[in-house]
C-alpha cells in the first residue's frame, strides 16, 4: 500500500501525545525535509502590523495570547514582509534586529525563550524607548499572557519600567493603556474572530497540494479510503458546504461565550476530523491503516461528525484536550430531541417518518444507515436482546452528531436543529448576530423573548410584559429573591429618549443597550454572550433563573443594579424633589400576568 508523505506529516497536527508540532520551527524543518509546501495559515493582523511599522509614528507592539494563537507566525510574517530574510530568521537568534528607514525594529520571537538576565536589560531599554518619542528603536514582541506579566514585573522597580508595567497591565485587562505618552499597543490574538479563521484552516489543509500524492493509490480509485471520504465531506462540494457552516456556527457560538479557538486548536480539530478513527494508533489513521480497517469492516467508525467531538479518542483524553473539551460543552450526541430520535429509531418502520428517514439516514450508506446500524436498530425494536439496546443507544449518539451537521436548512426549523445541543437558542442567537452585522432586521421573536426574560429576572415574578422593561427593587438589599417595589418602566420601542435594543459589537457578537434619555445619563449596556442569551430564553419560557445558571443570574442582577443607579441619576437630573409625603409603588400582577404599578401614599 503506497503511503502519502503529506498524510504522515499531517498527523503531527492532530491530538497526539508528542507535541513536536508545538514549535513552529520544528514544523518548518519537517516541511523542508519531506519536501511539502508550507501550509498557508491565516494571519489576519498582518496588514495592520505592517502598516504600523511602515508609518511615521509607529508604535511598538506586543503580541500576546495563549499558546497556539499564531504569535510567532505573525512575527515571522511581519519580518519577511518588511524585508527580513528567512535565513536570518531561522538563524536562531532570540532577538532579531532589522533596519527600518531611520529606525531599528527589534523583534523578540518569544519572550518566554529569554532567560532573566537576557530579558531584564531588554525590558528596561524598551521602557525607555516607548516613553521617548524621538527614540530610534521600535519593538515587536511576542509573549504569552502569564510570561509577559511575570517577566515585566521582575525586570525592575525603577519608575520608567513601572510605568511600562502599568500600561501593559491596563492594556491586557481593559484594552486601554491609559497613558498616551507611552508609544505602545498590545494585540491580544486570543480575541480574534474565529469563524473566518476556521474556514481558512479547513481550506489550507483540505485543499493542500499534498493531497495529489494520493493519485496513484488503489484505495482512491475504488473509493474505499475513509481518509479521502472525510476530506471530501469537509471540503463540502456535495452538501453545499453545510458541514463547514455548521462547524463554523459551533465555533462562533463558543467564541461568543468566551471559549476561544486558537489556530493550533483549529489545526488539531481539522486534522482529527479527517484522520480520526478509534482503532487507529493514537486515534489517527495513517495510510497503512486504511486497508486493515476496510477489511475489518470498521471503516464506518471514522465518522468525521463524531471526530469533531473527539469521539475517536479515549473519553478521559478528549474531555481534557482542547478543542474537544470546548466542543463537548454543547452536549451534541447526548442531548436527546424527541423529533430527531423518533426519526432515528422508528423512521424505517413508520410511514409518516419514512420520507424524512430516507432523506436523512438512508441517503448516507457510509456513515448513516450502515449495515451495523440497521442490524442494531432491528434488534432494539424487537427488544429481545438487552445488549443490543446498549449497542444501539451508543450508535444513536453518533447519529445525532451526524445529523447536527447534515440536516438541511429546510428541515432545520421543523426538526428544531439546536435542540440537539444544550444551547437551544444558539441558532436564534447566531441568526440575530448575523442580522445585526449585516444591518438586516432581527428575527421577530427575539426582543419580546429577551424582554420577558429580563423582566422575570428583575422582579422575581412570572410577569408577561414584553413591551417595556420593568425595573423593580426590593427596598432593602438588591440580592433579595423577589423585588416587589416598582421603580420604573423603560419603553422598548424608542420613546421620549428611552429605548431597549440589541446592537452589534463589531466582533460578531452583540450587546443589549438600554437608553434612558437622549444624552445624560449615558446608555447602560450588557454583552450578550451565548450563555446569557440562552439564560434569558429559558427564563422567558418559565425556568427558574438560579437553577439554570447562577453565574448568569448574578450578572443580570448586577446589570439591574447599574440600571437602577442610572434611573436614580436621571431622577436627580430631572429635578425630582423630595415631596413631604412618601409614595411607594408596588408591582401588581393582573390575571394575564401583566405587571402594573400601584401607588401607595403615606402621609407624614
Amino acid at each position: 500500500m503506497p503511503t502519502n508523505n503529506w498524510i504522515r506529516f499531517l498527523r503531527n497536527y492532530g491530538p497526539i501525545p508528542t507535541n513536536d508540532n508545538m514549535y513552529d520551527e520544528t514544523i518548518q524543518r519537517a516541511l523542508a525535509r519531506l519536501k511539502i509546501a508550507p501550509i498557508e495559515l491565516p494571519a489576519p493582523h498582518l496588514d495592520w502590523l505592517v502598516d504600523n511599522f511602515r508609518s511615521k509614528d509607529c508604535l511598538s507592539i506586543i503580541l500576546t495570547g495563549t499558546a497556539g494563537d499564531g504569535k510567532t507566525y505573525h512575527c515571522r510574517s511581519v519580518w519577511l514582509e518588511l524585508g527580513g530574510t528567512i535565513e536570518d530568521w531561522n538563524g536562531g537568534a532570540k532577538i532579531q534586529r532589522l533596519p527600518l528607514g531611520t529606525r531599528q525594529l527589534i523583534v523578540v520571537k518569544d519572550l518566554s525563550e529569554l532567560r532573566a538576565d537576557e530579558s531584564k536589560p531588554l525590558i528596561e531599554q524598551m521602557a525607555w524607548d516607548v516613553a521617548d518619542p524621538a527614540s530610534p528603536r521600535v519593538y515587536l514582541m511576542a509573549a504569552n499572557h502569564g510570561q509577559l506579566l511575570e517577566k515585566l514585573k521582575s525586570a525592575g522597580n525603577d519608575s520608567t519600567t513601572s510605568v511600562l508595567v502599568t500600561v501593559v497591565e491596563n492594556l491586557l485587562v481593559t484594552g486601554r493603556g491609559g497613558n498616551d505618552a507611552i508609544k505602545l499597543d498590545l494585540k491580544d490574538l486570543s480575541r480574534s474572530a474565529a469563524v473566518v479563521m476556521i474556514d481558512q484552516v479547513i481550506d489550507a489543509i483540505a485543499q493542500h497540494s499534498g493531497w495529489d500524492g494520493c493519485l496513484d493509490c488503489p484505495a482512491l480509485g475504488e473509493g474505499h479510503c475513509p481518509i479521502r471520504e472525510n476530506r471530501k465531506r469537509l471540503v463540502g462540494t456535495t452538501d453545499d458546504r453545510l458541514f463547514r457552516r455548521r462547524l463554523g456556527s459551533l465555533v462562533e457560538a463558543s467564541e461568543q461565550n468566551g471559549g476561544h479557538f486558537t489556530i493550533r486548536q483549529a489545526l488539531s480539530l481539522v486534522t482529527n476530523i479527517i484522520l480520526g478513527h478509534p482503532d487507529a494508533k493514537d486515534g489517527l489513521m495513517s495510510c497503512n491503516d486504511v486497508g486493515a480497517l476496510a477489511a475489518a469492516g470498521s471503516a464506518e467508525q471514522a465518522s468525521p461528525y463524531r471526530n469533531v467531538f473527539g469521539g475517536n479518542l479515549k473519553r478521559s483524553h478528549a474531555e481534557r484536550t482542547e478543542p474537544f473539551r470546548k466542543l463537548q460543552l454543547f452536549g451534541i450526541g447526548s442531548e436527546t430531541s424527541n423529533k430527531v430520535d423518533n426519526v432515528l429509531v422508528y423512521g424505517a418502520d413508520d410511514p409518516a417518518l419514512l420520507a424524512t428517514y430516507s432523506a436523512l439516514v438512508q441517503s448516507d450508506p457510509i456513515y448513516g444507515e450502515t449495515p451495523t446500524f440497521k442490524r442494531a436498530q432491528q434488534s432494539y425494536l424487537e427488544g429481545d436482546d438487552p445488549a443490543a439496546a446498549t449497542r444501539f443507544l451508543a450508535l444513536l449518539q453518533g447519529q445525532r452528531q451526524r445529523l447536527f451537521f447534515t440536516i438541511g436548512e429546510e428541515l432545520a426549523e421543523s426538526l428544531d436543529l439546536w435542540d440537539l445541543t444544550v444551547f437551544r437558542y444558539a441558532g436564534l442567537y447566531l441568526e440575530s448576530a448575523r442580522a445585526l452585522a449585516e444591518k438586516h432586521p432581527l428575527p421577530r421573536n427575539v426582543m419580546p423573548m429577551l424582554i420577558r426574560g429580563l423582566n422575570r429576572v428583575f422582579t422575581g415574578m412570572l410577569i408577561q410584559n414584553q413591551d417595556e422593561l420593568v425595573l423593580a427593587s426590593a427596598g432593602s438589599q438588591s440580592q433579595s429573591r423577589t423585588s416587589p417595589l416598582f421603580e420604573e418602566f423603560v419603553s422598548v420601542a424608542r420613546r421620549g429618549g428611552e429605548e431597549v435594543s440589541l446592537v452589534s459589537d463589531n466582533t460578531g457578537g452583540m450587546q443589549l443597550v438600554v437608553k434612558l434619555s437622549r444624552d445624560n445619563p449615558p446608555p447602560v449596556s450588557l454583552q450578550m454572550s451565548t450563555t446569557r442569551f440562552e439564560f434569558l430564553g429559558r427564563v422567558a419560557e418559565g425556568a427558574l433563573p438560579s437553577s439554570f445558571s447562577l453565574e448568569c443570574y448574578e450578572d443580570f442582577l448586577a446589570f439591574k443594579a447599574r440600571l437602577l443607579s442610572a434611573v436614580e441619576r436621571r431622577r436627580v437630573l430631572d429635578g425630582d424633589d423630595r415631596a413631604t409625603d412618601i409614595v411607594l409603588k408596588f408591582i401588581d400582577l393582573n390575571l394575564d400576568g401583566r405587571a402594573s404599578s400601584r401607588s401607595v401614599t403615606v402621609r407624614i
Binding site: 502569564g146 438588591s478 453565574e551 408596588f586 401614599t601 402621609r603
Partner: protein
Amino acid sequence: MEILPRPVGYEDRTGPAYWVDEAIWGHRLHDEQSPWLILLEFLGVLRSESLAGRALTEVDFNKLSYRPQTQLRLRNVVFNNPYLLTIGAERLSDDAAWTKWLELMQQNAGGLEDRDFSYLRHRFDSFEDFSAVVGFLQSSAIEGTSNKRWSSKFVFPFGPNALYEDAAITASGVSTDRRFFARTGEVLYLMLSRAKRAADLRDRLVGKLFEQPTVYDRLVGALQGEPQLAENDRPGSYLPCSAHPIFDQMAEDWIAILDSPISVFDALPHLVTITGLNLIRYQLERARELLDAIPITMVCEIVSPRKTVVRDIAADSFQANNALPGLAIEHYIRSAEKSHDWQAALASDDALLNAAEVLARQFDWPDPDELSSDLTNPGVLLDELVSRAKIRHAQHVGKVHSTWARQIGLSSRRSSRRVRYAPTDRLLKTLVVCCVPERLEFKDFLRELHNRYGLVIGDHQAARIIGAGKADQEDFSDNARRLEERLISLGLLNRLSDSAAYVENPFRREVRA
C-alpha cells in the same frame, strides 16, 4: 495592648455568675446572637451614642452606658399583627376594616400602655394600602423566616427609626432578657471605638446611615410615630483589650466595604459577614495568646465533588480551633495557682477558706460563706471550678466558633460527616470586596487572605502542612484552582491565560460589560 481591669462598682444581680469567659473575651460573646443581630445591636448603641455626640468615642474604658430605642408601636404593627390577612379576606368596607383592626390591636398589642393606633388611619388612603406597606416591611425583615417570638423580630435597618433593642414581652410587661441582644453588639462597639481608624469609620457610618434619611426610614417613622426609648440606660459591657490588631483589621474591612460604590443597604450584609469572621478570629486569637500557641490558621477546602485530602485537613483544622477556647479556659483558671495570693493562702492556717476567697475575688466563685462539704482542699476546689467553668463555657461561649462559622458561610458539612472550613460564595464575595482595591493578581489575593485572616487555601500558604508530609503540593494547588473556577463563576476573576489571573472587585472595576 494592655488588659483592662474589670469594671468595679457595678453590681447587677442579673450579671454573670462566674467571671471566666468574660475576663478573657469580654462581656460578652454569645452564640445565640447571630451576626446580623450583633450588627443591629451595634447600630442601636451607635445611634444612642451619636445623639449624645460621642459616636465611636470611648471617653473612659469600659464605661459605656447607652439608652436604646424600643419602638414598640412599630413592632406591634409589623410583627404582632396577624389580623391583616383575616380582615383582608373578609372584604369589609374600608371603614369597617379599620374599626375592626383598631379594636383588635387595642385588645392584643403587647408592651404598651397606650394601645391606640388610630393615628395610622390618617396616614393611609385605605386599609389596603396600609396592609401592603406592612406586608412589605414583613417581607424585608431580617432573618424573616425564623420562628422567634415577635418581640425578637427585626425590621431591616433602613435608618434610625428602624432601630430598637430586643425584648421579652409578656402580659406583665417588657423586660430585657439579653437573649438575642446579648451584649455582643456592645462588645463590637467597644472594639471599633478602640480601633486606630475609629474616626474615619465614624464619619462614614454616621454619614451614610443616620444623616441621609431614606424614604423607607421615613416610612418606618410614619408607622412608629415619635421614637420610644427604653426606661433605663444600659451599662455593664466590658472588653479586656485596650487595643488589638483584629480591631484595626475589622475597622479597615468596614471602611473598605463602606467606601465601595454600592448603596449602604447592600453594604450591610457584607459588614455582617466580615464582622462574624473577625469576631471568630478574635476569640481564637485571645485563646492563642493565653496558651502561647502557634498562630491561628484556618485551612479551607474549596468544595470539590470528590473527597480530597484537603477536606480532611480542613476538618482537623476546624476541630482544633473549635477546642482552643475550652483549653484556654482551663489554662486561665489554673494560672491562678501561680499567683502570690494563692501561694499565701495555701501556706495559711485556714487554707481552704483563704483559697476560696482568692478564687472568688478573681472568678466570682465560690461564695466563701457557703462552701460545700465535699470540697475538702484547695486542689479539689480548683478542680471543681475548672469543671464548672468548662460546663458553663460549653453552653454558649464554646459554641460561638461553630455557630457563627456556619452562619457566615465559613464552615459546612456538605458531603461529609465532619464539619470543616469551606467558604461559601457569599463569604468569598465579601472577602473580595474587603481585600481587593480594584484588581489583584490571584496569587497575591491568596496571600492577602492568609495575612489578614489566617486562611490557608493555596500551596504557598500550606507550605508547613506540605512540609510535614500531610498533603502533596498538588492537593493544595488543585484547591486553589477550584477557587479560581468559583470566582470565575461569580464574575470576580478574569483569567487571561493559564498562569495569569486577576481577582477583580465587582464594584470598582471599569464596566467592560
